[in-house]
Amino acid sequence: MQKPQFPADEAQRLQALRALKVLDTLPEERYDRLTRIARQMFKTSITLVSLVDAERQWFKSRQGLETIETPRDISFCDHAILENRIFYVSDATQDPRFADNPLVVGAPNIRLYAGAPLSTVDGHRVGVLCIIDNQPRCLTAEELQALRDLADCVEVELQQAHIHQAADTLRHWENYLHTVLNTVIDGVVTIDEQGIIQSFNRAAEHIFNYTAPEVIGKNVNVLMPEPYCSEHDAYLARYQATGEARIIGIGREVAGRRRDGSIFPMDLAVGTATLEGVPLFTGVVRDLSERQRAKRQLDETNHLRQAILDSANVGIISTDIKGVIRIFNKAAQRMLGYTEEEMVGKPNLVLIHDPGEIAAHAKALSKELACSIEPGFEVFVAKPRRGQVAENEWTCIRKDGSRFPVSLTVTALRDPQGEITGFLGIGNDITERKKMERMKNEFVSTVSHELRTPLTSIRGALGLVLGKASAGLSPKAQQLLETANRNSERLTLLINDILDLEKIESGRLEFNFKLLDLAALARQALAANEGYAQQHGIRLHLNEEVPQAMVWGDEHRLLQVFANLLSNAIKYSPKNGEVAVSVQPASNAYFRVGVKDNGRGIPAAFRHRIFQRFAQADSSDTREKGGTGLDLSITKAIVERHNGYIDYYSQENESTEFFFELPVWQEVIEADHPGRTRSRVLICEDNPDVASILAALLEQEGLSCDIAATAAAARSLLTKVPYRALLLDLTLPDGDGLTMIRQLREDETTHEVPVIVISGRAEEGRNAWSGDALTVVDWLRKPVDSERLAQALDQALRQGRFPRILHVEDDPDIIQITQALIDEAAEYAFATSLREARPRLQAEHFDLIILDITLPDGSGLSLLDEISSDSQVMLFSGLESKTDELSQQIAAVLVKSKTSNERLLATIKKLIDKY
């Protein structure tokens, strides 16, 4: 068998074959009908359209053969593509090239083979149309020509593959362009040089409300209102003649006309191109109606906003997240005396606020939010940032320096994602309101006094008649007098409660907050109400589920809460009933106190009114059960002032449990020094505004203070309270400050009090001062420089010889009692473990150290070596110790269970007396 050579153009030939993209495609009728005709014509057993690939011949169409491809190296067709003419073998068995070919020796037993090569347009012979038979046979010239003719037909089909492919591509791009044009939101309209519309996309249909078929072929000026409509043809002509363009290549806002004649604003951009020598203009149109409407709405909103800002009589200031002012409305300008230009774009909030007040707020907020709040802009926004309402009263400072009170509400401004973008503050000048409040306070106070004075006589007279002079009274008269007496008592309670409630609700009642143990308070309350319970035949029972429940509260007011809840529970309990009080954690953040009775319960219908004033489920209750009907309102107000919450559960005829929850006390990290009593300073100043500023500055320094408005009051206070310093005004209503300093220096109890003069006449005073220059720490002018005051205070506190006590003790009750006993007599600090005590002993000097022996991390006695020899030591513990076994440093030994408060205080006082 002889293999043919590769054709000379083999590489290009294969490339051309593959470019036809016909290999391995499905059979197609246009080829099959030609092979069928050939088979019919030549009466051969097989006809094929065979394409000669690199390693195989593959049959695009085949008649009389099952297989779809055969190897190239045994193929006849491989020979046939070598030349342009028909390759013809009449009997393969007689041809040495093929006699041993497997296709000749075996099936399909080829004898006759005639193949006409198939060429591409480029002349590459890529395949063959062949006829094959298993009988040797000679073909006539006519037959060979017919075969060639049929092969030409196959060639045409092959060449059409190109055309089909091009058409497909074209169709694809047309679809693509169509899709793009119909999905762009802009209208696209093309016109020819006469202005006749050639294409009109879907957006254009939508914008102009025409369908494409309606406008294609029409002059584009149907889409234009006058004067564009009439001018357009001339414009196009001029453009073509001169190239002068008004829109082409530029784009501008013009008017468009819809099918219904309505005119709308649109943005038009026109590009020009030449297509096959013919100019084509493409207009891109965007409907601006929506945008203009939105803009108009935005303008209106802005105008409205501006009008609101301008006409509001509350000050409105908004800032960005860093405190740079963005809005400073007219009312704010009027109130504060600054212009918009002076404030907007600047972080100027500090200008209008008192730094002392900001510092005091920072401190209070740090405590409330249990994190460190820097004095500054953060003070205003810390709460809004946390999604809380910040409503506070502030002192604002006008440009001219004058001050006025403002009620300020600050809210966070957020974007739709909830991110804070800035803050909005709305402030009201409350000078008038303050004045009214002051008048109301005075009125309420006066009225209460005026009511109580005659009531004192009425109650006194009735009480005396009943108590001392009832001998001659008839039973009827006696009963009437008793009624009168009982009601005078009720009236007294009522007046007290009304005043209480008024003050608590208006926030004017000062709460004396300190660290308290709710569990201990519950025990105290039970003891206090035991007598009342016994009168009603009720047992009180305490379930303590926590040994300690530390909260930040006012002891007196919380006892009032207990008393109110207990007395209600006792009153409504059945005879011989039990009232159970429980103290337990409600969650991580709250302690819960419950007071439960087994009384008749509270009707569900009454729930919404229970905490209202004068609310009682049954109006006969008031007389039967006593009480003023204000107890629960007061109780609720007190609990809420503690940031707590009060409610109840009740089952009619079974039980009622009132409960309140108070936040668990959390130590503030920022707190100056845990367990340190704040030093007290006296301010002697008759101007209340100045006094309150000084008080705020002292607060900022971590000092507490009292204010005396007159020299007499100051002198009186100074003899009673061991103040660490006196801030003194020189001009006082009842005397001269300089004289007062002299008097203080002469008096034994006051001669060491450090004095800081704060006065408009400070210079004058200093020059006039004939006494020892050292007796006054500093002379400060008003308005006072806070920095310099801090320095003077620092000096004064170091100068004053105030005894300091460190109490090493792990029982908070003992700490609390001792602290209360020592009160103002010394500066009191405590440590609850050896670990806490050691660094303090090293770093600070204490005059007296009170030691508990049993501490969580060891014996208090182990501290003795670390205590400096000039400190006194007192043992105060549950253990008895023999003094002689202990260090000589120990000046006193007291045993907790055997020591009364009086003795404890007396001992402490004796030990610190020398200081």
């Binding site: 004192t456 006589s457 007279a461």
Partner: protein
């Protein structure tokens, strides 16, 4: 109990004075002197030398605290215990009265039948404490 406690009661309200008088009459161990104003009290106290002074707070002219100051200025009255009898009994008001030198506060309206005992208790407390 043979000791007699001399009490000076100062109040501008005549009715209340008579109630107090009635309440304390015949009370063993207590003698009562009444004054209607601060100045009168200041004048009387120096000669009377009471053991205990009960002062109304709101009086026209010289009020209770002012009267207290004036009493303190007098020799022999520097340490005489003074009790305010007043309707001003808010905790911080009471604290204030104590801070300016009162030993205690009796709330108005008071229970007339308990007044004598209340005064005796106060006196015992002052004498011992």
């Amino acid at each position: 109990m043979t000791e007699t406690v001399r009490i000076l009661y100062v109040d501008d309200d005549a009715d209340i004075r008579s109630i107090v008088e009635f309440a304390l009459e015949d009370e063993e161990g207590l003698t009562l002197e009444l004054c209607a104003s601060g100045p009168e009290a200041v004048a009387k106290a120096s000669t009377l030398r009471p053991d205990l002074i009960l002062l109304d707070v709101m009086m026209p002219g010289m009020d209770g605290p002012a009267t207290l100051q004036r009493l303190r200025d007098q020799a022999g009255l520097v340490a005489t215990p003074v009790v305010f009898v007043t309707a001003k009994v808010q905790p911080q008001e009471v604290a204030h009265f104590k801070s300016i030198g009162a030993v205690d506060v009796i709330a108005k309206p008071f229970d007339p039948m308990a007044l004598a005992d209340q005064i005796r208790d106060l006196w015992m407390h002052c004498r011992n404490g």
